[in-house]
């Protein structure tokens, strides 16, 4: 395996070298290289309800305060109409309670290292940690009918808004609002467009161990003003078959997505299905309702399961939420073009719980945005006669400058 890693690292270097070579051959003009990104400061404060934990847990352990300075840099270089290269890095400085978890925290940052470890630590100080991770790094060749992309990239096959069974390469966690780009997959991706109405896509994403690799084929087309897609492939140790559509019922948006997993070495298949309706009222109020059926989810969850929802935890595509049945309702309203209010709520009929996620965003300037959000979880308290009580709440304040 080490040999494989070495070969891949060498390939990455070759890619880098190739991009410079092409650079030298062409007449470089400043517009060929595009740099963009952002700088964000995120402060978060979290509090848990002591009545869930009994008298042995100190109240200081139920509170956390964290600070994150987060910079993203995207480099895109187009050498001609066919060839382009991309590299994106996120640089983060962490401070606060999370560093007290020591190596567990540092390990969590490297948990999804991929085929090639492109994570760099500059210090593992308990007071301050500095970390760089390269989450996009690819070369792309394209023609009218083909796009071939090799390297670390985001393969996003989801159709629905909150839950995406079809997104088998990198699941999106609704609560992880601060990293919408998601990690990249190290993959070879070939897209073919036979007509403007349909397309084929093949993605091979090898892992350091063959049994963790994912490869799949996707076919997309549009008919009756609906977008349709079907996929088939191998997700780690499962055969996966899936499909989705996006269309409308009158003026209401209507989307559905499903995946079926058949494991090679056991007889425990898994089925996931999500569906959503959305509508925008005349006054600009946007409402959405969604439902997820997740066969692997717990029909008998308890409050400890919520800890798996933490911002850095990625749920697996085979089991993408905590519960078997979950309902989601959200509303979004622009008070004016600068000021947006939104509210997301989730609950599961399997288990007494309610998740409430309100947020306010305000545009302070052309490229300066302020966000305030709260994620509050309430559930049945086993120490309090199973009454519905709030379990924990985290508030976030974020300032973002885009460039």
């Amino acid at each position: 395996m080490d040999r494989l890693r070495k070969i891949i690292k060498l390939l990455f270097l070759l890619l880098l070298f190739l991009s410079f070579r092409l650079d030298a051959q062409e007449n470089p003009s400043p517009s060929k290289l595009k740099v963009s990104g952002y700088l964000k400061f995120l402060g978060s404060y979290s509090l848990a309800n002591s009545s869930f934990f009994g008298p042995n847990v100190a109240s200081a352990d139920l509170q956390t305060a964290d600070y994150l300075l987060h910079n993203r840099l995207n480099f895109k270089y187009r050498s001609n109409d066919s060839w382009s290269f991309a590299l994106s890095a996120r640089n983060r400085i962490f401070a606060g309670s999370q560093l007290k978890n020591g190596s567990a925290f540092f390990n969590s940052l490297e948990a999804d290292a991929g085929l090639v470890d492109l994570n760099f630590f500059y210090g593992r100080d308990p007071n301050l940690a500095l970390h760089t991770s390269i989450d996009r790094f690819y070369a792309q060749w394209e023609s009218e009918k083909w796009i071939v992309r090799l390297g670390r990239q985001r393969v996003n096959w989801g159709v629905n808004t909150v839950w995406n069974p079809n997104d088998i390469f990198n699941q999106y966690n609704y609560f992880d609002f601060d990293y919408e780009e998601r990690l990249g997959s190290d993959a070879l991706r070939i897209q073919y467009f036979p007509t403007y109405n349909n397309s084929w896509e093949l993605v091979l994403a090898p892992a350091t161990e063959l049994k963790n690799s994912t490869s799949a084929l996707l076919y997309k087309f549009n008919r009756w003003q609906y977008d349709w897609q079907f996929l088939a492939g191998v997700y780690q140790q499962d055969l996966v078959l899936g499909g989705a559509f996006a269309g409308s019922l009158g003026t209401v948006g209507f989307k559905s997505e499903y995946n079926y997993y058949a494991p090679f070495d056991s007889d425990k298949p898994a089925f996931l299905f999500s569906t959503a309706l959305d509508y925008i009222f005349k006054n600009g109020l946007y409402v959405q309702g969604s439902y997820l059926f997740n066969e692997e989810g717990s029909g008998d969850a308890n409050f400890a399961d919520f800890s798996r929802l933490g911002a850095d935890n990625v749920m697996s595509p085979r089991n993408l939420f905590l519960f078997k049945h979950t309902l989601f309702l959200s509303a979004n309203y622009n008070i004016n073009p600068l000021f947006t209010l939104s509210l997301g709520t989730m609950f599961s009929p399997d288990f007494g719980n309610l998740i409430v996620y309100p947020s306010l965003s305000y545009s302070l300037g052309k490229n300066l945005d302020l966000l305030f959000a709260v994620q509050a979880f309430s559930t049945q308290n086993p120490l309090g006669n199973d009454a519905l009580q709030w379990l924990s709440a985290t508030s976030f304040l974020r300032l973002k400058w885009s460039f």
């Binding site: 963009s36 394209e142 996003n156 919408e180 977008d227 948006g253 004016n336 073009p337 052309k366």
Partner: protein
Amino acid sequence: MNLKFLLLGFIFSLPLLGQDATDIVTQAENKLRGEQSTSEISMTIKRPNWERTIRMKSWSRGSEYSLILITSPARDKGTVYLKKQKEIYNWIPSIERNVKLPPSMMMQSWMGSDFTNDDLVRESSLVKDYNHKLLGEVAIGGRKCWQIELLPKTDAAVVWGKIILHIDQAEYIQLRSEFYDEEGDLVNLMEGKNIREIGGRTLATITIMKPVAEPGNMTILEYHTLDFETTVPREYFTTQYMKRVR
């Protein structure tokens, strides 16, 4: 022989003399809409205490297909909107995904401006969805205009109860349009300004939309470049192309 040509010439020039209101509106609409066009536009949203400007590139093919790429500000750069017939899509570059929007999006304010999506991509048609009546002639900024009243046809799915257009007689430019609600109250006022030649046509390169009930609020749409001669392939107006547009 000569007489025959003279007669033919007379017949062809007839509509110009006694123009029918529907013809005038049709000509004014066609003036803005090339069979195919590309343009660079900026949109400024003005409020009493602040303003924001968005710059974009736009491609269109008839009224059925349009594609808009946001080029500034940085936080929205690379965002793409596609309208193909009744379907609307939004490409979000940060998550590398294409989101299909509900059809009810059409009647919404576009990116917080005083224009609706429908104003920009013209799902409804001033020609097809309304009955037209010539009210008279007025002068606006020294230019002679036809004043035309538009009342929606009974089966038309439109927002307005009445529209009064003022169309320049020399160049068929919409100099001033008044949009009334179903109660007959004036809601929006649209003005065409900065008339000059662009893309081989004489047009108002600045359009200002003012909501009458909110003084100090307005949205200014300005064409920086406009080309009607270009070829925009049908392939541009596809979800495949949205991620490749630049």
